[in-house]
């Protein structure tokens, strides 16, 4: 029972992990992109469309990544080059992405003459598979070694991003830009380039979360009305929960994933709580974390100082 619950939590948490990692990369370079939901939607559609027509999982993931970069490019151009308000651009991107996916999703359904369905071979390619030997270990085998490939991909990306941010020179530059772009500029870092690169990278990773939702959560059928359904927003909250650290986001997404499936695993005849409470839980916890981190008053694990503000060299 507990094992099944944890297993379901990991599955529910994976799209959040993609979204959170992508948003952390974006925010660490000083840009608050509230378009996660929209980028996930676009990724969800593109990956499904590509998977439907090519039947190739990796092509589908690549397409999602590419459309995520494209969506983030719109945002980057508006905020970095044209210095438009970041919050507004992010929200607009969410609305645009949602509409984009639904518009083309409907066209795809009309083309297919009914709800499009992925081929069985493709479904098998990203179904849950036991890793030989390791998957047979009792308990641990099911928890860690019997997932679909995208779960591992999400964790690997999160780990790589952590190492990149903390251990490499490029990561240091990116954090410098996020904290204080003026100082970074003075130190000879190309602020615009760094911002562009990380916004695009972050957008691509977010869109992979959308791919997870449409390919795996959707069960191989395109559903126009609610593919992403707020997961992007939960990812934005999770960034705070993970205190801008992708490694912590791995556990954060697991916890938030657990909350989202908790209501189905709590024995309702023993513990009687209205369902609305379970829906509320992730956000309640985020509030708690916000309070605790703000009380600690440490610079570590707080929002990058330059996040949300555009950098204009002449105004230094």
């Amino acid at each position: 029972m507990i094992i099944n619950f944890l297993f379901a939590s990991i599955k529910a948490g994976t799209p959040l992990l993609f979204g959170t990692t992508g948003e952390i990369v974006t925010e660490k370079s000083g840009n608050l992109n509230l378009g996660v939901e929209g980028m996930m939607f676009m990724g969800a559609f593109m990956s499904f469309y590509t998977a439907y027509h090519t039947g190739n999982l990796w092509m589908a993931l690549f397409a999602a990544f590419a459309i995520g970069i494209f969506a983030a490019l719109i945002y980057a151009f508006l905020t970095v080059t044209l210095m438009a308000n970041q919050n507004v651009c992010g929200l607009t991107l969410t609305i645009f992405g949602t509409g984009f996916a639904k518009f083309f999703g409907e066209a795809m359904i009309n083309d297919a003459g009914g709800s499009p369905k992925l081929s069985d071979t493709l479904m098998a390619a990203f179904s849950e598979k036991k890793i030989p030997l390791l998957g047979d270990i009792p308990v641990l085998g099911k928890l860690f070694f019997s997932h679909n490939p995208l779960v591992y991909l999400a964790i690997i990306i999160a780990i790589i991003c952590t190492i990149y941010m903390i251990k490499t020179r490029a990561g240091l530059n990116m954090r410098a830009v996020g904290e204080n772009p003026a100082a970074a500029d003075a130190a000879g870092i190309n602020v615009t380039l760094v911002k562009y690169f990380h916004i695009l990278l972050g957008g691509g990773i977010c869109a992979l979360g959308g791919a997870y939702l449409s390919l795996i959560n959707g069960g191989g059928i395109w559903n126009n009305s609610s593919v992403v359904n707020g997961q992007g927003w939960i990812s934005v909250a999770l960034v705070i929960f993970a205190s801008w650290n992708p490694a912590k986001a791995i556990f954060g997404s697991l916890i938030f994933g657990a909350f989202s499936v908790l209501q189905f695993y709590v024995p309702k005849n023993i513990i009687v709580i209205p369902n609305a409470f379970y829906v509320m839980l992730p956000f309640l916890i985020t509030t708690l974390v916000l309070i605790v981190t703000s009380m600690r008053k440490s610079k570590e694990g707080s929002q990058p100082a330059g996040c949300g503000n555009n950098y204009f060299r002449e105004e230094r």
Partner: protein, 398 residues
């Protein structure tokens, strides 16, 4: 810092008090929901076909039919799709042209302003009759019916009517659920049947569906239990899939559903178990899992109603059709079903159609041991539509 602590504690207190109210409300709701549904009973039966001329006839070329959908028919399956298929069937049956049909999709049924705008746009375009397919449209439609007495308003799944140009329509889907339950009961090997329910015990429509499904199962398999998980939403495929997976984890090997998407059936397909869909035939979505689905043939109602508006005989009485009227049925029994399923279902169908078997009749005990109905009696239609706030004895809600 103290400020923050205090404000957090206040928020926590507020949240907890909300939850406390929420749980209390459930018990009182059971009584409240019953009251407004009395109108349905008077109108039971195919009242719309009565011949008293109450309105001006409208020439067929001049009729314009509008339909307000909560979702998007392009989803290709599920609730809105089923309704739209009914509209298409009506269009074909009456020979209307495409520009005589107005569709408004994705109209949020909790947003009264959006509903009003959508409907007034339809009236502006010359609609003579407006069908609203979601529960939440009812109050707005009732108001509009008074403002626009020349337009007919027909609302799905509610209970009100005004005797002239506003009525409600729904059907005895529980009859089809009973038949689907037979397929599920014959298929299960673990004797555990899961059910993904959109709403909890205070929703009579959902609860009635579960009870009829459980009674159908019990008629062929007295040992089987029905395990229910509630998602509290009509449309969230992710949540519906997670609920289905949780049921499968508990050992359920047939997944029934009362929610709009195909997600529970996809979960059943992926896990190698079976399932009964809803609204439209989901065999094409889950070819190795799907048994049969209770389905709606809304076309039966839409054709008759639009015809009555053309003839000028629409009288604003409520409609509550069933198997006999062809409004509900089950999708063709798939090859996944156990042997003999078709015969058992045919027998039960004949019992309903020819012997007047009402499903909710005879000795019925709920899962808390209360006697709901006695031998030789039947539950009244008002209670079926409004007071079904109990679960049948084989139902387990966790």
């Amino acid at each position: 810092m103290l400020k923050k602590l205090v404000s957090f504690i206040l928020v926590a207190v507020m949240v907890l008090s909300f939850t406390a109210c929420g749980s209390k409300k459930e018990s009182t709701d059971a009584g409240n929901t019953a009251a407004p549904t009395e109108a349905t009973a008077e109108a039971t039966g195919a009242a719309t076909t009565e011949t008293a001329t109450t309105r001006e006839p409208i020439a067929k070329e001049n009729i314009k039919v509008a339909v307000i959908h909560i979702g998007d028919p392009a989803d290709g399956a599920g609730y809105t799709f089923a309704h739209d298929q009914g509209i298409v069937a009506m269009q074909t049956a009456l020979g209307l042209s495409d520009d005589q049909i107005i569709r408004k999709n994705n109209v949020n049924d909790a947003d009264a302003a959006a509903i009003r705008t959508a409907m007034e746009e339809c009236i502006e375009e010359g609609a003579n009759i407006i069908f609203g397919t979601s529960w939440g449209y009812m109050d707005t439609m009732k108001e509009l019916a008074e403002e626009y007495s020349e337009v007919v308003f027909s609302h799905c799944s509610g209970y009100e009517s005004n005797g002239t140009n506003f009525n409600n329509y729904f059907g005895r889907i529980y009859q089809a659920r009973y038949l689907a339950g037979i397929a599920a009961g014959m298929k299960t090997q673990s004797d555990k049947i899961g059910y993904v329910a959109a709403m909890g015990i205070d929703n009579s429509e959902v609860t009635g569906g579960i009870n009829a499904f459980a009674m159908g199962i019990e008629s062929v398999n007295p040992d089987a239990k029905v395990y229910v998980k509630v998602t509290n939403t009509w449309g969230d495929p992710t949540l519906e899939k997670q609920a289905a997976e949780a049921l499968i984890d508990e050992g359920c090997d047939v997944i029934g559903q009362h929610c709009d998407s195909t997600a529970p059936q996809m979960a059943a397909e992926a896990a190698g178990v079976w399932g009964c869909g809803y609204n439209s035939d989901m065999t094409k979505d889950a070819p190795n899992a799907h048994l049969t689905a209770p389905i709606w043939n809304w076309g039966a109602y839409y054709s008759a109603t639009v015809q009555s508006v053309i003839d000028g005989t629409f009288n604003g009485a409520n409609y509550f059709g069933g198997l006999a009227e062809g409004l509900v049925d089950i999708s063709p029994v798939s090859a996944n079903c156990a042997e003999g399923t078709q015969e058992a279902i045919d027998a039960a169908k004949a019992k309903i159609l020819d012997e007047g078997f009402k499903v909710f009749e005879g000795n019925i005990v709920d899962n808390e041991g209360n006697q709901i109905c006695n031998e030789g009696e039947a539950i009244a239609d008002t209670d079926i539509t409004g007071k079904m706030n109990w679960y049948y004895k084989t139902v387990v809600v966790e």
